[in-house]
């Protein structure tokens, strides 16, 4: 039924347009995918709203038959967790991720760059429209079993399927453009097959099922699904290329054009590196920053060449925005141009009103401002300069306000960059809740400080966690050094080494601390002292290097005093996943000061240790030297008799 797709596309036009704009920019969506996603989205979210309801989305995800962990991961990665709702962008990304997961790819942003089949969902009960009359080219999509007669069976099976463990391979291709025109009804059909397939396991890696309506009669025969995704690869290519063209045309006609949100985001990032928006970012700072994007160095070099128009080795705000935009575009799969596009020229960007402090712009009802805050924090962590206080605070304030808006939020214009960083930072954000959960668990100074630090480190960018971490010592400086090794494996490349939340003390639940502290001092007095002396971390954690239990207690008391200061952060951290609360400015400064002080102390201690080691080695060298001289003289004494 060719009308099917037309009808579907017509109905979903509005959503599709928005979706295409964002989806196209973020990742190419084929027409079928677009239709499918927009339909699903409209199903989950009535048209007037812009965000999908959580419950319907949850239902849909569960219907994908993926394990709950995967679904959680997908939710985090797509950015919904971070922004707190499922906007079109997050939804589409989530759908793509579901498809990726069903294909056997890991749940990562990179996976969805490939061509993927449509995600399959079991038993979406209310979904019976004919959706995809997709061109026959798109085979491989799930079932096409449009027979009404089968539906009954399928529904029955679906129920069974629903009861099945979510671990069962995803089956029911809800949205599978049937290869054969006759099969346009979707979803229900698939169920039957899904279920019957105990051999669904094979489906794990094969999101694509080659189906033909005729085969349906075979029933759950897995034979239908023998086909592998490889079939579909060829077809999506065409769709994708078309999609890209469409997307580029839809997205303000230019993927190289920077949108308002992107610009705000870039400016925040710039601020995190360099508080004065009229000043430059030096080359080395920018290099570190862009290296975190994990693009290969030659590409980064080329991006720099393109964006540093005046070739002075430093980036102005406009140049930085251009460079950042190029990085994001590259990460999204766009090839780098040979010359700088006109819309990225500094003059153009400056003319397009780059406001140095666009607080007002930030408070616009942009759907995606939030992501920027988090990445800001990420990068600010990485950069570590005490001068970041002001930008951080402003960013935080903005974040707070954004959070307010977010609750309402309608993400109509999702741009790649925010999404990009959503994904990247969502991981961080996702880890934050874990960190928070983890923190209460491990409190002991001695052995678990590292774990604590790692876990706390996982709450990356949010300033609130920072103060908590180590008596507001969270600033990047030491943290990076300390936790570089530890946290590399833990986090994604975008997250700078998290501030090592030193020991549990600053942790969120202050109540636990006193008890732990008391216990610890008693039990660990000698060892803790030794440990503290030996472990730089501990020392960092404790403001005073000699860690005596009594002092610790005092510290906890002191911390109690700090509690008012920290409590907001604690509250913040607890509500972190959803919102970024405002932080007082002074916390930042004292935190950073303390961080610097601890860093200095640590360095001094390290110096002392090395100096000692050096002197010892020198001593040894002298002794060995003496021995050698003695032996040589002996030799000489013995020799003259013979040598002459």
């Amino acid at each position: 039924m060719e009308q099917g797709p037309a009808g579907g596309s017509g109905s979903a036009a509005a959503a599709a347009a928005a979706a295409a704009g964002t989806g196209g920019l973020l990742l190419p969506l084929s027409e079928t995918e677009q239709q499918r996603y927009s339909e699903l989205f409209s199903r989950c979210c009535p048209p007037p709203e812009a965000a999908a309801g959580g419950s319907s989305v949850g239902e849909l995800f569960r219907a994908s038959q993926l394990p709950p962990d995967t679904l959680h991961q997908i939710t985090e990665v797509c950015g919904a967790k971070r922004v707190g709702y499922f906007g079109p962008a997050q939804f589409y990304i989530a759908l793509k991720l579901i498809a990726a997961a069903q294909s056997g790819f890991p749940v990562r942003i990179e996976s969805i760059k490939n061509e993927l089949p449509l995600p399959r969902f079991m038993a979406l009960k209310n979904d019976t429209e004919v959706r995809y009359g997709t061109p026959a080219e798109f085979h491989g999509v799930k079932f096409q079993v449009p027979h009404a007669t089968l539906e009954k069976n399928s529904y029955k099976r679906t129920d069974e399927g629903d009861k099945q463990e979510p671990k069962s391979p995803p089956m029911s291709p809800i949205c599978s453009p049937p290869a054969s025109p006759s099969t346009y009804q979707r979803i229900p059909l698939s169920y039957g097959y899904g279920k019957a397939r105990s051999g669904l396991e094979q489906q794990h890696g094969a999101p694509y099922e080659v189906k033909h309506s005729t085969h349906q009669q075979d029933g759950p025969s897995s034979g239908n699904y023998g086909a592998k995704s490889t079939l579909t690869c060829s077809t999506p290519n065409r769709c994708l290329s078309v999609e890209q063209q469409e997307s580029s045309s839809q997205y303000s006609d230019d993927p190289w054009r920077i949108t308002e949100e992107q610009r705000d985001y870039y400016m925040n990032q710039f601020r995190s590196l360099q508080p004065d928006l009229n000043a430059f970012i030096s080359g080395s700072v920018a290099k570190n920053f862009f290296t975190k994007s994990k693009l290969p160095i030659p590409e980064l070099s080329h991006i720099w060449e393109l964006s540093d128009v005046d070739c002075d080795g430093a980036l102005t705000l406009a140049e930085f925005c251009a460079a950042f935009h190029l990085v994001v575009a590259r990460k999204n799969g766009y090839q780098l141009p040979e010359t700088l596009p006109e819309t990225l020229l500094p003059e153009y960007l400056q003319a397009a009103c780059l406001k140095p402090v666009c607080d007002c712009a930030l408070f616009d009802s942009h759907s995606e401002p939030l992501p920027s805050s988090q990445p800001t924090r990420d990068f600010s962590r990485a950069e570590k300069s005490s001068a970041e206080e002001a930008p951080d605070n402003s960013a935080l304030l903005q974040d707070g306000k954004k959070d307010d808006k977010q609750a309402l939020k309608v993400s109509t214009t999702l741009k790649t960059i925010p999404k990009e960083f959503q994904h990247l930072t969502v991981k961080a954000a996702a880890q934050e809740p874990n960190a928070f959960r983890a923190r209460p668990r491990s409190r002991s100074y001695s052995s678990t400080s590292i774990e604590d630090a790692m876990k706390k480190g996982e709450e990356p960018p949010t300033p609130p966690p920072r103060p908590q971490k180590s008596h507001s010592r969270a600033s990047s400086l030491d943290l990076n050094k300390i936790f570089q090794q530890n946290t590399q494996a833990v986090r994604s490349g975008w997250l700078p080494p998290p501030p090592p939340a030193l020991p549990p003390r600053p942790s969120a639940s202050q109540t636990e601390q006193p008890s732990e502290v008391e216990l610890h001092p008693q039990m660990n007095r000698p060892p803790s002292q030794a440990e503290e002396n030996s472990s730089a971390k501990k020392e960092v954690v404790l403001a005073q290097p000699p860690s005596k239990p009594a002092r610790r207690k005092l510290r906890t008391e002191a911390q109690g005093l700090e509690t008012p200061e920290l409590s907001p952060t604690i509250n913040v951290t607890s509500s972190l996943p959803a919102a970024k609360p405002h932080l007082p400015v002074q916390k930042q400064s004292s935190k950073q000061k303390r961080a610097i002080q601890t860093a200095i102390r640590k360095n001094k201690e390290a110096n002392a240790v090395l100096a000692r080691l050096n002197s010892e080695l020198q001593q040894q060298l002298k002794e060995v030297h003496k021995e050698r001289i003695a032996l040589e003289t002996q030799l000489e004494q013995l020799r003259p008799v013979t040598v002459l």
């Binding site: 080359g283 070099s301 060449e305």
Partner: protein
């Protein structure tokens, strides 16, 4: 006509090699290599302020083919060697100097790129474009 351009580090390690047309490349390699000795000689002879552009006319005139080899040294002792056909008599001294100046500017721009580690081979697309246009102009 043919020509070649080499950028060579102080340790006589090549940073950038470009020849047009490429089939004569081996000959250019040889030519440039020998000319490097002459360049070194001139550098040591000069002693002070080598910052100014220098010109080296080698007069490597083969019986069959003539080449003019020009040299240029930056203040960081990076040598630029350019080989052009003697048949290309249209090239005057000033043009060579301006070409070297352009090269030096482009080289400086590359240095400004924080992602470039001094000593790496130069892969910059902008630099390639500039060299291409320059060589097209000469040929």
């Amino acid at each position: 006509s043919s020509q070649a351009l080499w950028l060579v580090l102080p340790q006589n390690y090549p940073l950038y090699i470009r020849s047009v047309p490429t089939e004569n490349e081996l000959k250019f390699h040889y030519t440039v290599h020998t000319s490097l000795d002459v360049v070194d000689e001139k550098i040591s002879a000069m002693g002070k302020a080598l910052v100014d552009q220098r010109e080296l006319y080698l007069g490597l005139l083969y019986p069959t083919e003539d080449y003019k080899v020009y040299g240029y040294v930056t203040n960081s002792k990076v040598k630029f060697v350019m080989v052009v056909d003697s048949s290309n008599t249209a090239l005057r001294d000033n043009e060579i100097r301006s070409m070297f100046r352009k090269l030096h500017n482009s080289y400086t721009d590359i240095m400004c790129n924080p992602f470039y580690n001094p000593g790496d081979r130069i892969h910059s697309r902008a630099f390639d474009t500039m060299v291409n246009s320059m060589m097209m102009q000469v040929c």
